[in-house]
Symmetry: C2
């Protein structure tokens, strides 16, 4: 496969936009990503559109990407719609990367888009169930929040994490979000405010959790060998974009209360190997924290540190904007907002800005002080039997 | 890209199955396709799942392929869900083909699945609208049937087609379907019965039209170089699988009443070029006739004959099972049934059986009498501004 580069990124502000349709959101992100390059839109040869929930929430299914691209002024390009819950956007970029890598196309537009606010909150909540037979029709009512809460309680037991540690990481991300003009929540918050907010599912409080959001993010990729034709900005190479699904734990090997993160680790290991780097090389990361405390799980999964080292890491601010290894400089899912199909490409957009030195007040400095050169995005989507239905890891290099 | 081969196919009967879920349908097709090969299921490295409407119709969205594959007993393989209305299944196979061609995987399972019967017919009809803002919320109510009827009326005007010609092609396909154990409708019908059935939208009568259906079809593909490891049956190569979307006509160049099939022709031209064959080489074809008379359009689009030659072709039975160029030996969409996401891979399954000489009473003989060696599938999905949102052409070679 040829090497594939990112030449343009763009996103809408994430938030509640009753007047904007999924078409409007998609169009805005698409054109922002085009204007981030020197490409002539007619040079875009194909599009991959990631969306998780528009069928249930908005009723637009079947050819959703075609409808959005047409609204944005496109015609006559192959369009592939992909779906994988909160990882939809990244899956689309991976499919685009494979097609460019294979030489099927030279330039591909990747869009992640989601419209979660509608006139019926129950519909949005229903859409978020992942296996509807089990979770909804079956009446079990197992939710994402419950799963996150259970994992965090196990972490408290096993690693000595406390609810205050969870509030510390949430406060870090709220601060980062306050510097991000695209974030849904741009108000910094104290550890105390977060701890004192309503308990959603112990140990998770309201301000640790992401909420529904509308938004879109787009990424333009091309064969690395021709990237200089379309941009004068630093060219970002996709070192790896790995995907795994429905990895189930070895139930016999598990003891009660044990934490098994292997489903999250598989694509990370694969991505490190493919990109030829390790945890020690990562200078900035965006991770999948639909609840801010899930960022702690990511530190373990990504090999940044051990579970029992995390309290010290948090107290030392190692993953804050000015720390050794900034994580979620964008604010992460809980502060930037989590329009599920758009989240993966919002992570990629943030990392591209960081790698180019374009992240403004939230720019991280990298290990050498000259800006980061290697970045990582960790993304996941859905649950099946308590494990992520989709698990992904992307490594970018300047 | 490496050459890619089909080593296994399988499908459910198409029809109305109130007791079967989308998971049950998917599972049955998956295991039939596996049993059609000598592959060990653990050797399947990834899956692509095409579905058009389950979000709106069944409420299962987000990670639908993961839910189906898990139900079928799979874990630990990357799964990508794709969507493109009536072309969803073929789009999934194309994405799988690109990934195998690029060397990302060696063996891939492709599934097309749809569950259209539910407790609320209005929901199924709503799901079939392609741009919901325009067709449903906008109140225009433009439907697939209306579009097909308008095109056929133009064909009557321009080429001298009559309603009887439409009934002749429908009767041919009903007969073929009567020989197909997987078909939703297995009753042969006379031209007179078809002409006398209720008018749905003139010139289309009830028995010319496909109706909702439940069903699934699966295809296993691999790198051609290793296909002999997984099957002792004839190896079928994918010569081309081309995709275009939202090709809009040049409105200025059109005169009222003109028929413009270019959106359907584009992937056909590309597929002929890529596979290095032309219309004269095709020995059997499956075409997208959601209404049987649309098969006439396909003859033109595929370069089989000119519009004005079609009445003679029909009267001579050129495209019947024993004709020079059999089209829709399976019965086509209107007789086999049209569970939208499954249709594309049902076409591929039929052509694989024909190319292998396994099609039983509906086996065609090919030009040399030794069975066909080159086959073509034409597929489309959705409408935007009166043109197909997705248009595809696949060429298979023994």
């Amino acid at each position: 496969m040829r090497e594939v580069a990112i030449i343009g990124v763009g996103m809408t502000k994430f938030g509640k936009f009753p007047d904007k349709s999924i078409k409007d959101l998609g169009q805005e992100a698409i054109w922002k990503s085009i204007h981030d390059t020197d490409i002539n839109p007619k040079q875009i040869q194909a599009a991959y559109v990631g969306n998780g929930l528009a069928g249930v929430i908005t009723g637009q299914e079947g050819v959703r990407g075609q409808v959005i691209l047409r609204h944005a002024g496109f015609s006559d390009i192959p369009i592939v719609n992909v779906e994988g819950a909160c990882a939809s956007g990244t899956i689309g970029m991976r499919e685009g990367m494979i097609a460019v890598g294979a030489g099927v196309y030279d330039t591909v537009l990747c869009l992640g888009v989601e419209k979660m606010f509608c006139d019926d909150t129950a519909r949005t909540l229903f859409a978020l169930s992942t296996d509807t037979d089990v979770e909804t029709m079956g009446g079990i009512g197992f939710t994402f929040v419950a799963k996150y809460a259970m994992d965090m309680r196990k972490g408290m037991e096993k690693y000595g994490w406390t609810q205050e540690h969870f509030a510390i990481v949430a406060a870090k991300n709220k601060y980062n979000g306050s510097l991000n003009p695209f974030a849904q929540y741009q108000e910094p918050m104290t550890v105390k405010e977060i701890l004192n907010s309503r308990v959603v599912a112990y140990p998770l409080t309201l301000y640790m959790c992401s909420s529904p959001a509308d938004g879109a993010a787009a990424v333009i990729i091309c064969a690395k060998e021709s990237a200089h034709k379309y941009t004068s900005k630093p060219i970002i190479t996709i070192g790896a974009c790995e995907l795994s699904s429905i990895h189930l734990p070895n139930l016999k090997a598990k003891t009660p209360g044990d934490l098994d993160f292997e489903a999250y680790e598989l694509p990370v290991r694969a991505a490190y190997e493919k990109a030829g780097v390790g945890p020690q090389d990562i200078e900035v990361a965006e991770v999948h924290d639909a609840m801010s405390p899930a960022e702690l799980r990511a530190y373990i999964v990504l090999g940044f540190c051990k579970g029992e080292e995390i309290p010290v890491w948090l107290n030392q601010g190692k993953t804050s904007l000015r720390g050794d290894l900034p994580v979620n400089p964008s604010g992460g899912l809980a502060a930037r907002g989590h329009p599920v199909g758009a989240t993966g490409l919002a992570q990629i957009s943030e990392l591209v800005w960081q790698l180019r030195g374009e992240a403004g007040p939230r720019q991280v400095s990298g290990r050498t002080g000259k800006g980061p050169r290697i970045a990582l995005a960790q993304n996941a989507g859905g649950f099946i039997e308590g494990e992520p239905a989709v698990s992904m890891c992307t490594i970018l290099k300047r």
